[in-house]
Symmetry: C2
Subunit: 589 residues, 2 copies
């Protein structure tokens, strides 16, 4: 049986007169007495069907009985429409239907299958197959397929090899929590699902593959924040005989290519910024460069005027909300103060200086600082009449971070973040190690395989504890509109340096050997210098399409408790299955 000669997005005026067969879903059926019109939909488009009471009453009656989302097949003649629909590729024609077969009926769908649906989130997730019939969701899934293919084409043209690394690997306590998989054949032992193919791609470099990539599922058993998924997809890449510059050039090239090819955007050369600069000027290691509003240090100007809070602060710094002086009433300022004092931000208070259009000043700390001082602040920070200056103070790291959040909030309020404006940025020279005050230990800022900058190697091998805090890593992030879309580093390829790094991270030699012995062993058999990067593929899809949420770019996402509500997983398994695995469930206390 042939179900169709054409699909529903295909017929044009030039096809008029042809006998055709189409199959698809009933989008809508409209009864105009003598005529019944049906919009027939498939992945490719919508074609109008016409049933004429005068020609064939029985057929027309049958058409009137068609409900939304019925699956039908029709045979008929293509003809020119009298009232053309210029918004539809097939809008010049309709099908004069002669034969109608109902291939499958449909219950009334629980929400409308339209551009905008009336279904809530939960309902749309449960009936994901109906939600995916809607154009906005369908287009995102199709976009993802195109983006993946174009990524592969580009990288393969650049001599990269796609190598599949294993999914059943070994659990390592470093980093986020692993999902584990009990082994039946090796009872009491577990595989882990990879958080990334990091060690395998390094092994592939040692094996001589020179340029590797993989679009690959990775897994993290985290408490899910909004828009985090327990399984996610990376474009994972590694290259041998490269320095940082080679990696940046290669993946700037990939990114530009994808933007050009998929959404027709020509990105200019990507600016670069050190981690320190990003923190100082944007209070974030992923600055959103769609707008300025840089953070300026006012510490030296702010001290010595009798305002205790500023005198005792490690830093006093501010941002300029251009043209916002008049827009913020006292009440608005109070609300904004509440906003920065929320626990998620954690500021103790907010100081403002209004540089009014009439060149007067108004400030919450006017009694400590006269207008001349406030004017000098405004000049230093780049404010002009009409601007609102917002100032925070306190411990340096925290204050900069708070100002970074405040900057983003003001950017949102002032609508400075156009989702179709794309501002990429390389952030470079991250710290190698982060000191964890609570645990009294170092964590790897990137991961334990990241190389220190070459000029820091001697300091790393011989320095004291304080020195370690100042080491810089040969690591880089690609930031786009305030989101990290890729991160990577040049790796350690020397056994003794890797051992030193594990030691700094608090591994005993035994732990290091047990978990990463195979990699350190491999370093002894001719490991080349190498480095790489991984793109968050779900996020890249979302950003390129100007979307806030990654969820619609995933065909079957999980909800915030890690459940797939469509299939209802996870679920109980049988006692026999657990017995075979040598496992028992613990009773809840």
């Amino acid at each position: 049986m042939h179900y169709r000669t054409h699909h529903c997005g295909e017929l044009r005026l030039a096809d008029a007169g042809k006998e055709v067969k189409l199959s698809g879903w009933v989008q809508i059926s409209r009864d105009f007495g003598g005529l019944t019109f049906v919009d027939l939909r498939d992945r490719y488009g919508i074609t109008q069907l016409v049933f004429n009471m005068d020609d064939n009453e029985a057929l027309c009656e049958q058409a009137r009985g068609l409900g939304r989302e019925f699956v039908i097949s029709v045979e008929g003649i293509v003809r020119e429409r009298s009232n053309k629909n210029p918004n539809r590729d097939t809008g010049d024609v309709e099908i004069d239907v002669r034969v109608l077969s109902i291939l499958n009926a449909s219950e009334v769908p629980p929400f409308t299958i339209e551009e905008e649906s009336d279904g809530g989130d939960d309902l749309r997730m449960k009936y994901r197959y109906l939600d995916m019939r809607r154009d906005p969701v369908k287009e995102k899934i199709l976009f993802r397929s195109q983006l993946a293919f174009e990524t592969r084409r580009y990288l393969i043209d650049q001599a990269f090899v796609e190598v599949e690394t294993p999914v059943l690997i070994k659990s390592t306590p470093e980093g986020a929590r692993d999902f584990v998989v009990p082994s039946r054949m090796n009872q009491g032992q577990f595989y882990a699902l990879p958080q990334s193919p990091q060690t395998f791609k390094q092994i592939l470099m040692i094996a001589g593959f020179d340029r590797y990539f993989q679009i690959v599922k990775c897994f993290r058993d985290e408490d899910l924040r909004a828009d985090r998924q327990p399984e996610f997809t990376q474009i994972d890449c590694e290259m041998s005989f490269v320095s940082r510059e080679d990696v940046l050039q290669t993946f700037e090239g990939l990114t530009k290519h994808l933007f050009q090819k998929l959404i027709g955007i020509e990105l200019p050369a990507f600016p670069r910024m050190s981690y320190d600069e990003a923190i100082h000027h944007y209070g974030s290691d992923k600055p959103d460069l769609r707008f300025g509003m840089m953070i300026r240090d006012l510490s030296s100007m702010a001290r010595g005027h009798g305002f205790n809070v500023f005198d005792q602060a490690e830093i006093v710094a501010g941002i300029v909300a251009a043209g916002q002086a008049a827009a913020y009433s006292n009440k608005d300022i109070n609300k904004l103060t509440d906003w920065v004092k929320r626990p998620q931000i954690g500021a103790k208070g907010l100081v403002y200086v209004k540089y009014n259009e009439d060149q007067t000043f108004k400030s919450s700390i006017g009694k400590f600082y006269d207008d001349a001082v406030l004017k000098s602040w405004c000049e230093a920070i780049g404010a002009v009449p009409g601007d609102l200056v917002l100032v925070l103070s306190g411990e340096k790291d925290k204050t900069l971070k708070q100002l970074g959040e405040l900057r983003l909030e003001m950017g949102r309020r002032m609508e400075l973040m156009d989702p179709n404006d794309f501002k990429p940025l390389w952030v470079l020279d991250f710290p190698l190690l982060e000191w964890d005050e609570e645990a009294e230990r170092f964590h790897a800022m990137h991961h334990p395989f990241t190389a220190p900058k070459e000029h820091d190697i001697d300091r790393m091998l011989s320095g004291d504890h304080e020195t370690m805090k100042s080491l810089r890593a040969d690591a880089y992030d690609l930031v786009l509109n305030g989101a990290e879309i890729a991160g990577g580093s040049i790796r350690i390829h020397d056994r003794s340096l890797q051992e030193k790094n594990f030691d700094l991270l608090g591994f005993t030699p035994e732990e290091a050997r047990e978990q990463f012995g195979f990699l350190m062993g491999a370093f002894e058999y001719g490991a080349p210098p190498h480095g790489g990067i991984a793109f968050g593929f779900d996020r890249l899809c979302a950003l390129m399409k100007g979307s806030q949420s990654i969820r619609d770019f995933i065909a079957f996402p999980k909800n915030n408790t890690g459940r797939d509500v469509m299939i209802d997983a996870p679920a109980m398994v049988s006692k026999e299955q657990l017995d075979e695995l040598g496992l028992a469930l613990k009773k809840a206390d």
Copy 2:
């Protein structure tokens, strides 16, 4: 730092005189007194380096100290070789080295990094990164990457969409054993890893995606036979509004394209054979068509001559080993008899008839059958003088299967199975259900979602138990050289038919709803007719390259007990990890 201007497979005579920089591994270093030659290797090839004692003694001494697999970087001048090596792309040139840097030393590798290695299987698996430096292994991994990309290119050109389906899904007891993943956020519940994305791809058809594919990891917790892996890769495909013919045409097209593009083989139109025909003529549902030696039924001729064994057998059937009469002594026949009596084959005995070159006959059952009868057998079975006829008898299904095995064994012995000869075949019309005598229940021959042939639907809905055994499925396998490389079917898209099938398979309505309710629910909202196929990607790689084993086409394979011996997984996890998951290990009894 720049590590290279060219790679090691790139330089030609036209480059002579250029200053270049190369990096790679020392394949071999040869000291000829005044001159030291080093073969420098990377993924792309080998380039000869020359160090001259007269030019730079210190440098030459340094080169002499280079061990195998050292990673080095050299700068020098390209020049024409006096003794060219025509077997190497770079064989016309060598590098007169001026600067040598050792980037990393290497221990002496535990086996040779050559075309043929002296390392045993276990050692090569443990040091997989060294084994992968060997050309034969490297080439297979590169081939796999090309095959995957070409598959994607072809399918995307045919309007297929690659959609990633989830890895964390729900365990279903049907089929092989699932790997399960305990959920921390939903304690006591488990995800399962997919044995295939079957239900998700059907959901994608219901969602209207029309043509789906995915190159995807699948998982099966089976006791591993040689050459089975707990994780394996499929080219998974599904199409809507298709009948069998559409699917066969589409994937015959894909297969031909891949053979043509990757290995330059033009496959002719694929022959087709019903399951029944395959069983009767080849004793297998995956006939190897590289040679004939078809099974012929001799039952009617064999009965009534007083030979009890044949008189009581459900079937007597044989094959012809052409030209083998003289080659098989009595001793050889005895050995072959032992072979068919092995438990893996399970025949009770073997009857032979030698049709000698001089037109005499010799047979193990000569006293029951005179030469005239034996001659009539030979004529019926197509034997000519010089041929050896091998006959088995007994229960029909078993005897045909045994003859199928014997046929393959004779094919091997007679060297009729050239790995570079490719004989594809579609096997069609499989039984829908298999009766399991022991469990007293039906199993799905393909899987529970396979549609019966359209003309069998009424019999399926209303027939008795015996009728069920005769139902045929709209299922198909693509067989190549005796191996199944793909299998698929037209699917059920009607809820009541699906419910009937679950019922036949012994599911209670509650079990069916619990496990597959989402799919049966989806059938109620406009499910289109659909069908698909899945290729075993690892096997396809191996067959196309004429290899018996899939293992070398997998970068990091597991051994027969499911262990990755390189990383040493699976492994113990900490008590804290188990506690978080609400799990306890059971003590061994």
